[in-house]
């Protein structure tokens, strides 16, 4: 489903991704962890081209894009890739001038040209799926952080993407609200959604991931099943980062 080869990304003179290789099969969950500044969010944002890589290649679903030699995909290819991915943001980024259901309807109506009735009924189903029946007409500021993020998940699902991208979806939440969002994500994973998740939730990584990738300084330090990466890291820097995390949890 996803195949990334030798991906590079720089911001000015700062090289954030230094040649990343990654692959993910359909229906699997990939969790990316690592210290801040390690490039994990940039890697995720390269997968729907919110950041344009400087070199390397990206295959995702039917999209097959190469960035070598300063090449950039055309507008159509960019839109196609983005329609095939759904993204959930750390700060939700819901549209504040639209109600919960309108947030979920928006891309169906504007991008997929579905009728409003069709979009509305599908959106109501999606809101029910994330446990927000009855909140259809609430504006984002009337919802808790956890509820907003669940609307964000429903919105990203609305266009039937093949891959869901989560950028630290629970980092902005109060601790007591983290569970409700993780529950929805686990449910999605159980239904066979292909997911890439950048997170600091080690418990989620251990329970829901098929593969865990540990990034550091723009490269992948460790990659493998959660038990292996989280418990027996072979790389020194990886072990150090994991120690820091477990100390914090104590």
């Amino acid at each position: 489903m996803i195949e990334i080869r030798n991906l590079h990304k720089s911001f000015g003179s700062l090289e954030v991704l230094k040649g990343v290789n990654l692959s993910l099969e359909k229906g699997k969950v990939l969790v990316i962890i690592g210290p801040s500044g390690s490039g994990k969010t940039t890697l995720l944002r390269c997968m729907n081209l919110l950041e344009m890589p400087n070199a390397g290649s990206l295959k995702l679903g039917d999209s097959n894009l190469s960035f070598d030699g300063g090449r950039k995909p055309g507008k159509k290819d960019v839109l196609k890739l983005r329609q095939n991915t759904g993204m959930v943001f750390q700060s939700y980024n819901l549209f504040p001038h639209k109600t919960a259901i309108e947030n979920v309807m928006e891309a169906q109506v504007v991008v997929q040209k579905r009728s409003k009735e069709e979009a509305r009924s599908r959106s109501a189903e999606l809101l029910a799926k994330v446990g927000l029946s009855g909140k259809e007409d609430a504006y984002p500021h009337e919802l808790s952080g956890g509820q907003q993020q669940r609307v964000g998940i429903a919105r990203a699902l609305a266009t039937n993407p093949e891959v869901m991208l989560f950028d630290e979806p629970t980092s902005a939440l109060d601790p007591e609200l983290v569970g409700e969002v993780l529950k929805v994500m686990k449910q999605l994973a159980a239904e066979g959604m292909t997911m890439v998740v950048v997170t600091h939730e080690m418990k989620f990584a251990a329970e829901a991931a098929d593969t865990v990738v540990l990034m550091g300084d723009g490269v992948i330090l460790e990659q493998g099943p959660p038990a292996q990466v989280l418990n027996r890291p072979s790389d020194g820097r990886a072990a150090e980062f994991l120690n820091l995390l477990t100390e914090k949890e104590r």
């Binding site: 983005r82 759904g86 993204m87 001038h97 991008v111 919105r155 266009t159």
Partner: protein, 222 residues
């Protein structure tokens, strides 16, 4: 106040209101609407740094903001005919005020669009929207809310600035009051009367602004 003065006030009221309805209000509405469209185009061209157009837009805003409105009106109405470009007075006023509104309001629109967080654009893009769709559906509706107070301000300024159109022979409200004052020799009375008319007009607009702000406040922008 004697009966003669009261009679003058009453007699001059309708001609002034008529001039307001015929020229002041249409001039304000048309110039503001066209100016707003121009302002949005100029703001986007500059925000998106579209080559050549963005430089032209920058020079346009620089010239209009750096020269007096009165001089601009004179160049359009009295100056351009000498090189064969002629407009009737009302048309010249529309052009002058539109250009003026376009320049000032483009800065308001630009600031309003920039005040919308990058995350809103990214959320729209992540759903597969084009830049135009993201602008129209997501960013402009939110920017509108931010820009209502400053745009109302410039609208109300425009109402009063249209009185300058009398200098290029448009028979708007102030021009009529000048004529009445010349005939009746009651400048204090007549100019106060026209001032009250402007005040009433602006008060109504102020009330409309409040209604709009309340309607747009249904959502909050975090």
């Amino acid at each position: 106040m004697d009966d003669r003065k009261i009679q003058i006030l009453i007699d001059s009221l309708w001609p002034m209101i008529k001039a307001g309805l015929q020229f002041t209000i249409p001039l304000t509405l048309i110039a503001f609407a066209l100016g707003l469209v121009l302002a949005i185009v100029v703001a986007l061209v500059r925000l998106w740094k579209i080559p050549v157009l963005s430089q032209i837009a920058g020079i346009y805003v620089w010239i209009i903001r750096g020269t007096p409105l009165l001089v601009q009106l004179f160049i359009i109405f009295y100056g351009l005919p000498t090189i064969g470009i002629k407009f009737d007075p009302f048309m010249a006023a529309i052009i002058g005020f539109t250009l003026n509104m376009g320049a000032y309001n483009s800065e308001i629109v630009r600031a309003a669009i920039q005040s919308i967080s990058k995350g809103q654009w990214e959320a729209a893009y992540s759903l597969g929207m084009t830049r135009g769709e993201a602008l129209r559906r997501i960013v402009l509706p939110q920017a509108t809310r931010v820009s209502v107070p400053p745009l109302s301000n410039s609208f109300i300024s425009l109402v009063k600035d249209t009185s300058l159109a009398y200098t290029i022979t448009v028979v708007e409200m102030f021009q009529v009051s000048k004529q009445v004052s010349a005939v009746t020799y009651e400048p204090l009375l007549i100019y106060c009367e026209v001032a009250v008319l402007y005040l009433v007009l602006c008060t109504v607009l102020n009330a409309l602004q409040n209604v709009m702000e309340k309607r747009l406040a249904r959502f909050s922008t975090r």
